[in-house]
């Protein structure tokens, strides 16, 4: 222990100084937030969600999306690998004949029941066509009804991947029956 530290008083005063500095910095930041409306100024430790978002990891498993071909149709070939591997049984696919015989199948229906989904990401790993990904960065999809948790093929196809910092680039789709 240093000589100065043996004198209890000096250390107490330094500690008080640190606490007081945090207090006044935060006082300034929160005043900027609440009195002057400067929402971009970061708070002390609290992220001002939803205006302010933590950067998401690129490995984050967020809301699923269906990858599109160049013509906008789903890349999915309705092979049911994701439906089979899904431990929550939350994927519902109905296959139909694709007009192109080399593709063979396409999903006539592709529903994910997010109320059941456990976000394990197995569907993404199982997919042989890289047709389903969980990279939208969207984590907000609560609903007022169970039906509102079922995302259909059209909704999933319309989603875009998140930006480089993990911020969602597609509007967070709110199905009509999800609105209060």
């Amino acid at each position: 222990m240093k000589f100065r530290q043996r004198f209890y008083l000096a250390e107490v005063l330094i500690g008080l100084g640190v606490t007081a500095a945090h207090f006044f910095v935060n006082l300034g930041r929160h005043t900027a937030h609440h009195v002057f409306g400067r929402k971009t100024v970061p708070g002390a430790v609290t992220f001002q969600y939803p205006e302010e978002r933590r950067p998401y990891s690129p490995r984050l498993r967020s809301l699923h999306r269906l990858v599109r071909r160049e013509d906008g149709s789903p890349r999915c070939v309705a092979c049911m690998m994701c439906e089979t591997v899904c431990p929550a049984h939350c994927i519902y696919i109905v296959a139909a004949e694709h007009p192109n015989q080399d593709i063979e199948k396409y999903p006539e229906r592709f529903d994910i029941d997010l109320g059941k989904c456990v976000f394990c990401g197995y569907c993404v790993e199982a997919c042989p066509e890289d047709a389903i990904r969980m990279d939208t960065g969207i984590l907000e999809f609560s609903s007022y009804s169970r039906l509102g948790m079922i995302y259909t093929k059209e909704t999933l196809l319309a989603l875009e991947p998140a930006g480089p910092d993990g911020t969602p680039r597609s509007p967070i789709s709110i199905p009509p029956d999800r609105r209060p």
Partner: protein
């Protein structure tokens, strides 16, 4: 009988047995594609190579007959290397489309690739492309790229049906299966080529994309399509009810029974199970007609039917049983009519169109249990009327009540106007069956019965062979097995308690009818047994 050694174990087989079958007796699996016990030997696939004696090269097991003192080895390094090389050749032009292939999960190419595959492919050239998704006929669709040219389908059409629609065309790696010009794969057994195709080249159009095969479960059963009683497997899907438009029974497949159907089944039988998941199913016991129809519970329905049977004189009641009912049902019904003293009992209704018949499997009698009904004895009893006589008596108002099982009388050979007139003249008309049909709207009481896949039972085929079928799925709504409905009504009439299972009913049948003496479910086993036909 030649005695040979396979992998160090001795086995004695009948003369003329090939090495694949001899090894099978010891539980040793020799892989093969082109060999099929029901077809001639082609030696196309070269996969069944085994080491025989001191021969310097492996030989094909399918075309090598077991000989006395032969020493066969199936797992030597040379054999394993040969299999790997043969598999490599088979896969050179095979597309990697297992995920979209309907055969995936029951494909022998997948199975043997896992066992004998060369996991690092050496093929660098573009694969040969061939026609995909070509319909060959009403039931079969071809993907020529997936074909490994085993020629089983060609041999089936040549040797079993004798119709010869298929052939192998082109040469070398451009060889492909195809139809002869102007032909269509439309013979009555066409879909068997789907079963024998070891890969996904020939698939079922009816089953196309319906359910992935790993979702299916299996129950042993007997085809109810005609009096042959082909052994089948019912493949049903309960795990993913959103598939196949919610139909639980996905497909019927033949089950090998050397005594009845060998490996085959006709297309009419294969696609004849659609009524199980049809919208016309009767689900609840119903009273009254049309707008006045009211669904009631069995606790209300059983006393009502019992009261009708009790309140009318036996000679005013007619019972028209069906050869579509199982032996168990017919026996409970027979006891019921004997107890009540009803003599107007019959089961024969001539079909509107005579059924087709051939020398392979198809029988003209399209009912699975005509022989059973004959043996159990549901013909008119002394002084009783037959089916036509009952309808005539109904028109003349001598018969007041009629209980019809399953029959659609309007599809019979009799004039529809006569039938309608007879049914309208009745005081009451009970229809018991699984599906609504032409006459069921005329019934004032509907009793919904379970179909054959929703219950246990036995059918007796035209040869008198009693064969079991097992339960696959639950009966829908409040429907019950025919024997259970009849036993409940019998119970209300003081005929004794309801048997707990179909097996109990079969036990009393074996005790009560001489032809069935000595038979039991255990005795029948998977493949059935002949009834003692006097």
């Amino acid at each position: 009988m030649p005695k040979l050694t396979i992998d160090g174990r001795e086995v004695e087989v009948p003369a003329g047995t090939n090495l694949i079958e001899a090894a099978r007796r010891l539980g040793i699996e020799v892989p093969y594609y082109c060999y099929h016990p029901g077809l001639s030997i082609a030696g196309q696939c070269r996969l069944c190579m085994v080491d025989v004696g001191n021969s310097p090269r492996p030989q094909i097991a399918c075309n090598t007959l077991a000989a006395d003192g032969m020493v066969v080895r199936t797992e030597t390094p040379k054999v394993l290397e040969t299999r790997q090389s043969v598999m490599e050749f088979h896969l050179i032009n095979h597309p990697l489309d297992c995920p979209v292939c309907d055969q995936a999960g029951e494909c022998w190419l997948q199975i043997y690739y896992m066992k004998h595959g060369l996991y690092e492919p050496r093929m660098v050239d573009e694969k040969v492309h061939k026609p995909k998704a070509v319909p060959l006929g009403p039931h079969v669709i071809l993907d020529a790229e997936r074909c490994i040219l085993c020629s089983r389908c060609v041999r089936f059409c040549d040797e079993i049906t004798g119709t010869g629609e298929l052939g192998i065309f082109q040469r070398g790696d451009h060889s492909e299966i195809g139809l002869f010009p102007g032909k269509e794969l439309a013979n009555p057994y066409s879909a068997n080529v789907v079963d024998i195709c070891p890969v996904g080249a020939l698939t079922d159009r009816d089953f196309r994309f319906a359910v992935r095969v790993w979702y299916l479960e299996t129950a042993k059963s007997v085809c109810p399509g005609c009096s042959r009683g082909c052994n089948i497997e019912v493949h049903y899907n309960l795990r993913r009810p959103h598939h196949n438009q919610g139909h639980r029974v996905a497909r019927l497949k033949p089950r090998e029974n050397p005594e009845v159907n060998q490996w085959w089944i006709c297309d009419a039988g294969r696609y004849g199970g659609k009524f199980v998941d049809d919208a016309s199913r009767l689900l609840f016991p119903t009273r009254g007609r049309e707008n006045a129809a009211r669904e009631v519970g069995w606790d209300e329905m059983v006393p009502l039917v019992a009261a009708r049977l009790r309140d009318y004189r036996p000679d005013e009641i007619g019972v028209l049983a069906s050869p579509r009912m199982a032996n168990e049902d017919l026996f409970v019904l027979k006891r019921l009519v004997e107890h009540l003293g009803i003599a107007n009992v019959d089961f024969r209704v001539p079909p509107g169109r005579p059924g087709d018949e051939d020398r392979i499997l198809i029988k003209a009698d399209k009912n699975p249990n005509t022989r059973g009904a004959e043996l159990i004895g549901l013909a008119p009893r002394a002084g009783g009327l037959d089916a036509r006589g009952m309808l005539r008596a109904a028109r003349e108002r001598r018969l007041k009540g009629l209980w019809v099982f399953h029959h659609d009388l309007l599809a019979s050979a009799w004039p529809g106007s006569e039938i309608r007139e007879a049914l309208r003249a009745l005081d009451w008309f009970i229809f018991q069956g699984s599906n609504a049909n032409g006459i069921s709207p005329d019934a004032d009481v509907l009793l919904p019965s379970a179909t054959w896949v929703e219950r246990e039972g036995t059918f007796t085929n035209f040869e008198g062979r009693v064969q079991r079928f097992w339960k696959a799925v639950e009966p829908p709504g409040a429907s019950l097995s025919d024997w259970e409905i009849l036993a409940r009504i019998g119970d209300a009439l003081g005929l004794g308690a309801v048997p707990g299972r179909a097996e109990d009913s079969f036990k009393s049948l074996a005790a009560g009818v001489p032809a069935f003496a000595g038979l039991s479910y255990r005795e029948l086993g998977d493949f059935g047994k002949e009834a003692a036909t006097a």
